[in-house]
């Protein structure tokens, strides 16, 4: 009895809403079936999972949502406000680094009667926003209201190795809200995308500058990515260091402490250069700029540029101010350190030995505590070697991911899940080297050497050759390689 009453109230409230032209009509429910690959058995996929997210209609009969809502999707279904019928959608553009995606719907009728939402500007801190979405806990659209708590650079969890401008709000953002619009005065001022464990009443949304930058990036039909200039800026607040660099004693200028291996950065910058200004923004001694009323990392200015774009900058070098244009470029050198999506893991199987490139995704197969359980050499190689000794770094370190047990390899006990140094005398700099090294072997035995202490294993080449096909069949591996 009580239950019925509750439904009635809910229905009547919705009925009045339908009459007015409100943003919720353009908010889309997204139901995704995803299937992720298994990074230590790279030809396999995990079970299909169903997950829900939110999206909203943007100009050109498209739907905007988060990249993480549609990553590894096998099928994407979209539903309109209060319309039970599901439509099939597909990804048109996806930007994993800033967690945004644009979808299109095969059946054009889907957009009949739907209006595109317009974007607003970066909302003011302390102003009120409302999130629209389909979070867990029910089937119907849900609204939450909150204030803009603060605006700064936050790590973007989806990519894992990128940070960008994000807005913190106390409006509840829960699983399923992802990709939904955050609205102020009928304009979209953000896309809800992540929460933070351990903090209460905090949700984060992607603000208009990042969204606009993404939309501009895809105008030419391809997404290039968030850009950077390749310098690591650190605060310059010690008086002695400022005098050492002959800088005036004020609150301007952050120091270039190190450079990434990006040619344009290596060419333009030196260590101990001081960045005084970039674009129209003066750089503070803590490395921040005043961006629309908020102090945020100067990296934001570089990030808002497009691939290859040049920004005017003012540097302090050798006691003098110099004007220099600096390039902002997409950096892929740290690809293996971040989470990878939508491109299948690469591997090579030989006599049951599964080789795969060392990556963050692979390390995660050690479980949540991968830092404790993974071989320390893997962690050093992936996270430290390139920065510390680029001359010894490999372009794509390869790991023996697992051994598919068979009599031919049952005695190999010295090296599973270790970093591969050489095979048949050939140094392994990439997965392609593994295939080449085994295929060019001429001795009676294949010799696989591992890092760090030269442990090695051997295989009888003739027996390995015979076992190969049998192992692929036993373990249902469609192909011995994906290079």
């Amino acid at each position: 009895m009580l239950r019925n009453l509750f439904y009635l109230i809910l229905l009547s409230a919705l009925a009045t809403d339908v009459l007015s032209a409100e943003p919720q009509r353009s908010v889309i429910q997204i139901i995704t079936s995803t299937q992720e690959p298994d990074w230590d058995s790279p030809w396999r996929f995990d079970a299909v999972r169903r997950s829900g997210g939110t999206g909203f209609v943007i100009k050109g009969k498209k739907i905007m949502t988060n990249a993480h809502v549609v990553s590894w999707a096998r099928q994407i279904l979209v539903r309109r406000y209060q319309d039970p019928r599901p439509y099939v959608a597909r990804v048109l553009f996806v930007a994993h680094d800033c967690d945004l995606a644009v979808l299109e719907v095969e059946d054009a009728r889907f957009f009949d009667g739907l209006e595109a939402l317009e974007f607003g500007d970066l909302p003011q801190v302390r102003s009120t926003v409302v999130t629209y979405g389909y979070p867990a806990g029910g089937e119907q659209i849900s609204y939450t209201r909150g204030v803009v708590s603060r605006i700064e650079v936050q790590p973007y969890a989806h990519a894992g190795n990128r940070s960008s401008l994000a807005v913190q709000t106390d409006a509840a953002i829960n699983p399923g809200n992802s990709g939904g619009p955050v609205v102020q005065d009928d304009l979209v001022v953000g896309v809800a995308f992540q929460g933070m464990q351990g903090l209460e009443n905090t949700g984060f949304f992607i603000p208009p500058p990042v969204i606009q930058r993404f939309l501009k990036d895809i105008e030419d039909g391809t997404y290039d990515g968030l850009t950077m200039t390749g310098i690591r800026l650190v605060p310059l607040q010690n008086p002695a260091y400022r005098i050492f660099l002959k800088l005036p004693d004020n609150s301007l200028g952050a120091r270039v402490d190190s450079l990434l291996p990006i040619p344009t950065a290596q060419k333009a910058f030196r260590k101990d250069d001081v960045l005084l200004k970039v674009g129209q923004y003066e750089v503070g001694s803590d490395g921040t700029v005043l961006y629309d009323g908020n102090r945020v990392s100067a990296a934001v200015v570089f990030q808002m540029a497009q691939q290859g774009e040049s920004l005017p900058a003012k540097l302090w070098r050798d006691g003098k101010e110099i004007d220099m244009p600096v390039s902002s470029v997409v950096y892929e050198g740290d690809r293996l350190v971040g989470n990878q999506y939508d491109s299948l893991p690469r591997y090579f199987v030989y006599a049951g030995l599964v080789f795969t490139p060392l990556s963050m995704d692979y390390l995660k197969t050690f479980g949540r505590n991968w830092r404790d359980s993974a071989n320390t050499e893997l962690i050093y190689e992936l996270f430290y070697r390139r920065a510390e000794s680029p001359e010894t770094a490999r372009s794509e370190p390869v790991v023996l991911a697992s051994v598919l047990v068979h009599p031919v390899n049952a005695n190999l006990k010295n090296a599973s899940r270790s970093l591969v140094d050489k095979i048949n005398g050939i140094r392994i700099d990439s997965l392609a080297d593994v295939a080449r090294a085994f295929e060019s072997g001429t001795n009676t035995h294949d010799v696989i050497e591992f890092l760090p202490n030269h442990a090695f294993e051997t295989l009888d080449r003739t027996a390995a050759g015979v076992a190969n096909a049998e192992i692929l069949k036993t373990y249902s591996i469609p192909k011995d390689r994906r290079l």
Binding site: L236, N238, E377, I379, Y384, N411, K413, H445, P452
Partner: protein, 491 residues
């Protein structure tokens, strides 16, 4: 109802206790004259605050082993300020001193100068074989009574001590006893079969008597040079293809050498990919074990401390390219092992050097251990990784900026910590002495500190002229006595 149950439990407990406590027998009367208590006061160092000193007192056991000689473990004796002995579990305390101590072997001989102390004491025998068929008892003084607890033999394994990586045999015992590991003797048939030095969960680890005897005998003969170790690395030869590849004739056996330090190769001629078949006449199996006449199957590493000491020669029978040959391998000293993360000096003060609030310390095991029981997980990865790297002539050791004591002088650097120092004023730095020299020899107005490449801060600049004033301010504000502490052992 409840009361009945509790009463029952108590009754059982009492039973267990009487069962565990050996009745005072004539044998124990003799033992009472051989076991003494040590009260050791020592300085305790905090490697996060290397200038701060605390004092700690530990009680441990010792056994009389010879004329004016009491044997105990070396644990707890480092940085001692006072050792006192008590006999018979009661009565007065006697000032004692160390006659001999060896931290890697974890053994010490303590003595008392006052002759009156020795009256009524009598030595106990250390067993020379490990035939553990009888009942094992752990003894110690507790509140004036000699307590005896039953122990069960688990197994022999090869391990290493807290203060050394040198491998040596250990006796694992199961026993229902708390707070042991302080050199309590384990006896069987009136003879000491081991000294307990650690306890985890329900397993006590003891140094077996034959191992202790071999060191004490060598010490008396003057041939004990400290524990040695094998500095080569090997892998098991469980893969028959590997032995075929290395052309070993006959049945699978031996282990495969995968790494030999340069100086060791030059001395012994041992090479990577040699198959070690025998060590000192003991056959090595494909897992790397040998059959010890005393202890059963043990890993070959134990042959580095089985009646052989640093500087002694070990005979290796190896197979190279299918031909067997004999090699003489001279054992290096465990303490001399070149490591990036050494044990801090035994009995030494923690070293540090403060530069305007920036605290520099040598990277050491003790520093890493300060991060807690699970320091291998908790300590910064980059620092713990030095354990796996090899020092070189150019870089024999590592100095780190461990923390910054905030002062107006170092403003802007207050968040810097656990950075690896590489150069100061352009000079490479591996030790605190290098750092001190680089600061002293500079005539510039600034001191420039360069840290290791990576994703952390790489450069810090300080005002050279203001340094002295900043130093005295920091010392005063943080209550520190000295701006630096260098180990006395170093020049």
């Amino acid at each position: 109802m409840k009361i009945t149950i509790r009463f029952l439990t108590m009754a059982i407990l009492t039973l267990v206790c009487t069962g565990g406590m050996a009745a005072v027998s004539p044998a124990n009367r003799t033992l009472e004259r051989s076991i003494v208590t040590l009260d050791v006061t020592r300085k305790l160092h905090d490697f996060f605050l290397p200038w701060s000193k605390q004092v700690k007192t530990v009680l441990k056991s010792g056994i009389v082993v010879g004329p004016q000689e009491i044997l105990t473990t070396a644990d707890g004796l480092e940085n001692r300020t006072l050792i006192r002995l008590q006999k018979g579990g009661r009565g007065s305390w006697w000032n004692a001193e160390i006659k001999w101590i060896d931290y890697p072997a974890n053994l010490a001989i303590v003595t008392v100068a006052d002759g009156k102390f020795w009256s009524g004491l009598q030595p106990v025998k250390l067993a020379d074989s490990m035939n553990l068929s009888g009942e094992l008892q752990i003894y110690r003084w507790r509140s004036g009574n000699l307590e005896a607890r039953k122990a069960e033999f688990n197994r022999f394994t090869v391990g290493s001590g807290e203060k050394s990586d040198a491998a040596r045999v250990q006796l694992e015992l199961g026993a229902e006893i708390d707070q042991v590991g302080f050199s309590e003797p384990v006896l069987m048939g009136g003879k000491v079969i081991g000294l307990i030095y650690s306890r985890t969960e329900k397993v006590c680890a003891a140094l077996p008597s034959p191992f202790i005897r071999s060191i004490l005998d060598a010490r008396r003969r003057g041939t004990y040079q400290g524990l040695g170790y094998f500095d080569f690395t090997w892998q098991p030869a469980e893969n028959p293809d590997t032995l075929a590849f290395l052309k070993l004739p006959g049945d699978p056996r031996g282990v495969v050498v995968i790494d030999v330090p340069k100086q060791s190769e030059a001395q012994s001629g041992l090479k990577v990919r040699d198959v070690i078949l025998q060590i000192d006449g003991f056959d090595i199996d494909i897992q790397g074990d040998y059959l010890d006449p005393q202890y059963g199957h043990l890993i070959l590493e134990n042959l580095s401390t089985r009646n052989k000491w640093a500087g002694d020669t070990v005979r290796l029978r190896i197979s190279r390219e299918g031909r067997e040959q004999e090699i003489s391998y001279r054992m290096p000293k465990a303490e001399d092992a070149a490591k990036f993360v050494p044990e801090a000096e035994f009995d030494g003060e923690p070293e540090y050097l403060i530069v305007g609030g920036l605290v520099f310390q040598p990277l050491s095991k003790n520093y890493l251990r300060r991060w807690g029981q699970d320091w291998k997980r908790v300590a910064p990865f980059r620092l713990t990784y030095f354990q796996y790297e090899n020092p070189s002539d150019e870089r024999p050791a590592v100095v780190i900026l461990s923390q910054v004591l905030p002062d107006v002088y170092n403003v802007g650097y207050q968040d810097a910590r656990t950075l690896v120092l590489e150069r100061v004023n352009g000079q490479p730095v591996s030790r605190l002495e290098d750092l001190e020299k680089a600061l002293k020899n500079s005539t510039n107005d600034f001191h420039v500190f360069d840290f290791q490449n990576g994703d952390t801060l790489q450069r810090v600049v300080l005002d050279a002229k203001e340094l002295e004033a900043a130093n005295s301010r920091v010392l005063q504000r943080y209550g520190i006595e000295n701006i630096h502490a260098f180990s006395a052992a170093k020049e």
